[in-house]
Symmetry: C2
Subunit: 350 residues, 2 copies
């Protein structure tokens, strides 16, 4: 039970040098069996159970774990099916390589003892909707490899992204093609000032968040091509959770009962919209068409199944993890999106 049996103690007790003791544990083949037995006996007697990773770490080894930085609180992180799918990709490659993953929340940065600055990991995956550039700075300072997801980390930094604008355009084109003209748009955060609900034209034009902005542009691309204008549409803003989604969608329906189609920037929000619409007695897709974004697993299982912009979420996670583990040159990857048409969209009722 002696608190501090260390390798040196074991070596001494066994009458060998520290180096030999080290070998006995790390390269058993290199040490004569009888000596090894002596060392093991000494170790057992001292209650020593092998080299302490901390020492080994300092000496220069890899941690063998990847840090995933998320902007929300850890508690909320796994509520989002997108995040689950993304983590699934990361953990797939961690599983393959016998590595671990450490979760690092960047929410509430004051007084944290475990953050980008101090996490013991081999690299970071920055999966942050908010405050991205600050975190990128921090990560860069750590001088550990990192990859930013859906965020430009600047030159010489790895990035994995999808073409948000294109995805949004596909979604809007689909609905426009069906003949819809009056749209509601359920957007992700435009600006990180904790406001949600109906969005004025000014606010929309002031959108700071890159992903949201790109998607607006994509919707607008399709609108313009059809002679419509995004200015005429009803836009609401929400954080990506069901509760907020339901609240803002309710406001949207109240403000614009005439809309026949909803473009949501995530499936979570799309499904919230569907639920609210159904509760209000609107049948989908007969009375209202809805297109989501992400194509999370839940989309296909919904009732009716949700038409959505598919993005390879799991693959994003896999690529990110590989980029960390395989320390190559920094690179930018752009993954493809596509529209998956399911049962939540149809011709407008008339």
């Amino acid at each position: 039970m002696a608190k501090g049996a260390k390798l040196a103690d074991v070596a001494q007790a066994a009458g060998v040098s520290q180096g030999t003791a080290s070998n006995a544990f790390n390269r058993p083949g290199l040490v004569r069996p009888e000596v090894r037995a002596r060392i093991e006996a000494a170790a057992k007697k001292l209650g020593y159970a092998g080299p302490d990773p901390k020492g080994r770490l300092l000496r220069g080894g890899k941690v063998n774990a990847i840090g995933v930085v998320v902007s929300e609180r850890l508690t909320d992180f796994f509520d989002d099916p997108y995040n689950r799918a993304f983590m699934s990709g990361i953990t797939q490659v961690c599983d393959e390589r016998g590595a671990g993953v450490s979760l690092i929340s960047a929410a509430d940065a004051r007084g944290v003892d475990w953050g980008i600055e101090s996490a013991v990991v081999d690299g970071f995956v920055l999966q942050c909707v908010e405050d991205g550039s600050r975190l990128i700075d921090l990560a860069r300072r750590r001088r550990l490899p990192f990859v930013a997801i859906d965020m430009d980390a600047g030159p010489d930094m790895s990035t994995i992204e999808i073409d948000h604008r294109q995805g949004a355009r596909l979604a809007a084109e689909h609905l426009v093609g069906l003949g819809h003209k009056r749209f509601g748009i359920v957007a992700l955060e435009l600006i990180y000032d904790n406001r949600t609900g109906l969005v004025s034209r000014e606010r929309r034009l002031a959108t700071e968040e890159g992903v949201t902005r790109e998607r607006f542009l994509g919707y607008d691309d399709a609108f313009r091509a059809a002679g419509l204008s995004i200015d005429a549409m009803t836009v609401v803003e929400a954080t990506n959770d069901t509760e907020t989604g339901r609240a803002v969608v309710a406001k949207m329906f109240d403000a614009a009962p005439e809309i026949t189609a909803v473009l949501a920037m995530s499936d979570v929000l799309a499904l919230a919209a569907a639920a609210v619409a159904q509760e209000r007695g609107r049948q989908i897709p007969r009375d209202l068409s809805i297109v989501g974004f992400d194509d999370v697993p839940e989309a296909a299982k919904a009732q009716p199944p949700l038409t959505s912009v598919h993005q390879p979420i799991v693959e994003k996670g896999r690529r990110a993890a590989h980029l960390i583990f395989d320390r190559g040159e920094p690179r930018k990857e752009l993954l493809p999106v596509s529209l998956v048409v399911r049962g939540s969209t149809a011709l407008p009722r008339r």
Copy 2:
């Protein structure tokens, strides 16, 4: 960009001693502003962004992260709503304390470079359905605090558990009280030999897994009190996932179409049973009553809402995390269970 700017380099460049440089970063108050400015300038020039956690770690600090050991592959872990709820509890207290959590998979232990033996964490939470005792051994060897969930880790070790037998008894009593006599039991693994499907009496009696055994006992308590016998019931075994659940439940219905009530050892399995039953045209609860176990969030949202044995999953996670961070005496905690009656149970059809 020099790869190895260390504290000593900064100190030298700034013309101060290493100790002072250290203070400049860790206790800025202790060093004269002008000196500190010089140090910071030197640091910036050398591209040094503060003390490396690895060094600090070795010196004796906390990692500020908790290791969660799971027996499945990480990839599958978050598919299980029970696990999500449990992690939610753990991450709540991590969020509160600005700490992190590291996921450690104990599946596939060969050739892993990141496991109980080597993870850099302050303590472990052992949330393992399988292979518990081996992992407990490993954890004990690390000499880090750890707490075992639903598993006895032996004297002097912390444990958090619920009364599985009591929970199971409540579930069975409820159905027995409604008048059911012919039961199907969907059990979690009895023995870790990768077998699933119909379970013979011999195999049931050979159950190795503690939780499963306790729950069998609980069911049987209720049966016996009503003059029934578990020997007369149809038992199937599954891993805790929807796919396997559906498969074994199908076998159960084929083998015993006469059952009027299903006792499932998890909500995931219960919901799988409900789905299969409904696909076969059996209405719940009219044609079949089902009781789950765990009371995961999905249970209440199911159609019909699932009657289930509630256990405080999130609280289990919270307690576990506290036990690690607050290094107290080892303790055994037994958390309460209760039956939540919802819409999936009713009188037998005739």
